[in-house]
Symmetry: C2
Subunit: 446 residues, 2 copies
């Protein structure tokens, strides 16, 4: 018999339980702060992660803490909001209860905002050896891997073997792949040769493989073409219609039969939603996304909502669902917050309608592409806009300030100073996490 | 047969191999840059660590990267300095060779600057469960442990059990213990109650246990007394002549028979030098320190030197060796650098003479103690001096600037924002490191 999560009072308020403190979940929790609801926000981490800048952490340009913000701090003075660091195990929608590793909890309204994870499309080899980029820890892992591989390259006398450690292969030509490729190309030209004067950097290649026929598939043709031009100018080897079929940790095989060698393969080729026990079997599509109506209510359930990347909603021009970008999640969270407030007043909810504010990607210093409603920009002004928009979206004034200083510093020196490889202490949290995982498995859900 | 470390040219220059990039090793390498020597600096990490501020990383006040500086960056333009991230396995002084996990290397002059590690005095239980504080990773580990334990406290309905997670016990009343105690007491009063409004902080205690009869044993009586007064004012429970004899992860036993409960025990009660195969058996004292003469030459060997915390030198007023503080290592490095340059010119080396510049410790906001030559200070001015001296000792202008901003921010808001618990990705570096360790073991030293 699982006990209740402790210290969450039964105080007569309707309880909204939000699973996931990403863009969507965090915005909803913030908008329901200081309302008549009791809000319980649950995330497996104790911080919100700003995903658009993961690639700068991976390339030693920003500190993890600049793009990770402690959730407790955000809700310090919001007495109706309770945060818990916990893993969701299962939902029982019949009795309005969720189960976590901290215990169970009743809800009046459940909002799922767990987002998506890396999709390896069932390829176990790739899953084992490739590096994903869907969390701050994974970005740090990539940073550490790159630094470690350069140390290894230095101890190879055979230049071809050294090149295997120096090469970096990025799979997936979406914003993550494109932005990483650009940042790595800049590291190759500006930083790495200074750090490793003994290595021959003409041997190093940054590859970007995309399965479809163009980069930045969600953006305009003009943006795609320009992004490819910029990347090639920076020295990236871009290959479209290139499908990676296998990887053994060193040798990368393409469908075409071509082979490449690299100890560093970053997999940003697709996403999938992790299944939610009790919900997904009934409401999920093949990609794991949860079907919702225009009010973000999950198909087949009452009092259960899904927002953000996890949700798939037929709406207006988006009959196959919206793109999985921050803007959709933020807007859905805003609409759901309004609707939950209307509900309190006994009023009718309003359907969601997505307002496309455009999209952008940065490739390098002074180089970005932006598709805005009514105008497409490339180059310096797009880059300045990109910087501004991302800076303003960061949680916390101090973070904003630190990122700005880092950017200005890096711009003028072209030499980020964060190339440190911190290895965990003996008892790593992986071990502890797995101990906990074992414990969780043993908990009897009855 | 072990191969040579690659890409270190034999160019007729005398080769100085320095093991350890701490205060002493780093200073020596810097002073030998752009000389007629070839310098090879070896460290197990790719960064220099600024130990005096570990406690601020542990208490979420500073970013690890602010006090860790990439060694490669320091030597980017020094073409006679080669850095290698490697573990020293053994020294063969007869044939002037060292062995590392990257291969072997001949030296003309070997300088050992590997410092010291935590000493558990043979108590295996304490070693297993206590948290040490001798590296950035260990400081991060402590930060994560504290944050994790507060999340656990929150899920206890029994206040006594919750208190076990909230209490923090520090063993060792030196600067580390004192500075940590002060910072934790300030977290207790200023930060934690805001983050965890559901918890009763009157249950939380910060304990500081010291085996001798006073805190800060290396400092004046006035400093010791004042430090204790300050700590008590901040709410720390200070116990001198308190020897911890056992710890099982929760229950702490003192020699006196008293028992205390806490899941967080920080062990800063002693240091010991890790043995160096090929050297220590002949030249080490019981505490592992290597005996050196007034030129820092290791007793019984030629062309082998030891500097910093690792070395023990009878000199002037210090017939039992100098205190193990940064100043000694820095001054020894400076003297050795001068001597090695004299050697090049065929001149006579000069003996080392320690110039005590004083010592200080900070307890909290506006509270510090300082023993300077000729003057002892406590309180606000000592604190400002402490800030200034530490800021100026940090490597890197950007680091200095970031630390300054963090300090100013934290001073006025009393709310550090770095309370994030980042867990490593699936394949942790611990695993990899241990794989490598296995590989190293297999290397045949012949």
């Amino acid at each position: 018999m699982m006990e209740n999560i402790k210290h969450i009072p039964e105080n007569g308020k309707k309880r909204v339980v939000i699973i996931g403190g990403g863009f969507a979940g965090l915005k909803l929790a913030r908008q329901l702060a200081n309302t008549a609801y009791q809000v319980v926000l649950i995330d497996k981490n104790n911080f919100h992660q700003f995903q658009p800048l993961f690639y700068q952490v991976a390339t030693s340009g920003l500190e993890p803490s600049s793009i990770a913000f402690p959730l407790r701090k955000i809700f310090q003075k919001k007495r109706n909001v309770h945060f818990r660091m916990a893993d969701l195990l299962e939902v029982n929608p019949n009795i309005h209860e969720i189960y976590t590793n901290l215990g169970k909890l009743k809800y009046d309204c459940l909002v799922l905002a767990t987002g998506v994870d890396t999709n390896y499309f069932g390829n176990k080899n790739i899953e084992q050896f490739a590096i994903p980029m869907k969390s701050v820890s994974e970005a740090i892992f990539l940073r550490n891997s790159i630094l470690r591989n350069y140390e290894k390259a230095l101890n190879e006398s055979d230049p071809e073997k050294a090149a295997n450690y120096m090469n970096i292969v990025l799979v997936g030509g979406g914003p993550t792949g494109v932005e990483l490729a650009g940042a790595l190309a800049e590291m190759k030209s500006d930083i790495l040769p200074k750090d490793y004067p003994e290595l021959d950097f003409s041997l190093m290649n940054v590859y970007l493989f995309e399965a479809s026929d163009r980069l930045l598939n969600g953006m305009s043709d003009a943006a795609s073409k320009k992004a490819e031009t910029y990347l090639k100018k920076l020295g990236v080897i871009v290959k479209t219609e290139a499908r990676v079929s296998d990887y053994d940790g060193l040798s990368i095989k393409l469908d075409s039969g071509e082979e490449f060698n690299s100890y560093t393969l970053v997999w940003a080729a697709g996403v999938i939603a992790n299944p939610i026990k009790g919900i997904s079997k009934i409401a999920a599509t093949r990609g794991g996304r949860i079907r919702v109506d225009l009010f973000n209510k999950v198909a087949g359930f009452n009092h259960v909502y899904a927002i953000g990347d996890l949700a798939i909603q037929k709406e207006g021009d988006f009959q196959n669902g919206h793109p999985q970008v921050a803007q959709v999640g933020l807007q859905q969270a805003g609409n759901l917050a309004k609707n939950l407030k209307l509900l309190l007043q006994g009023e009718k909810m309003k359907p969601f309608r997505y307002k496309d504010r455009g999209s952008m990607a940065t490739i390098g210093k002074n180089l970005a592409v932006a598709d805005l409603p009514g105008v497409k920009m490339q180059g310096f002004f797009a880059w300045v806009l990109w910087l501004f928009v991302h800076l303003m979206s960061i949680v916390g004034i101090k973070n904003r300030f630190f990122i700005l200083i880092n950017w200005v510093w890096n711009y003028f020196t072209s030499d980020q100073s964060l190339r440190i490889l911190i290895r965990p202490k003996k008892r790593s949290f992986t071990d502890r996490a797995s101990e906990e995982h074992q414990r969780i498995k043993k908990i009897n859900l009855n």
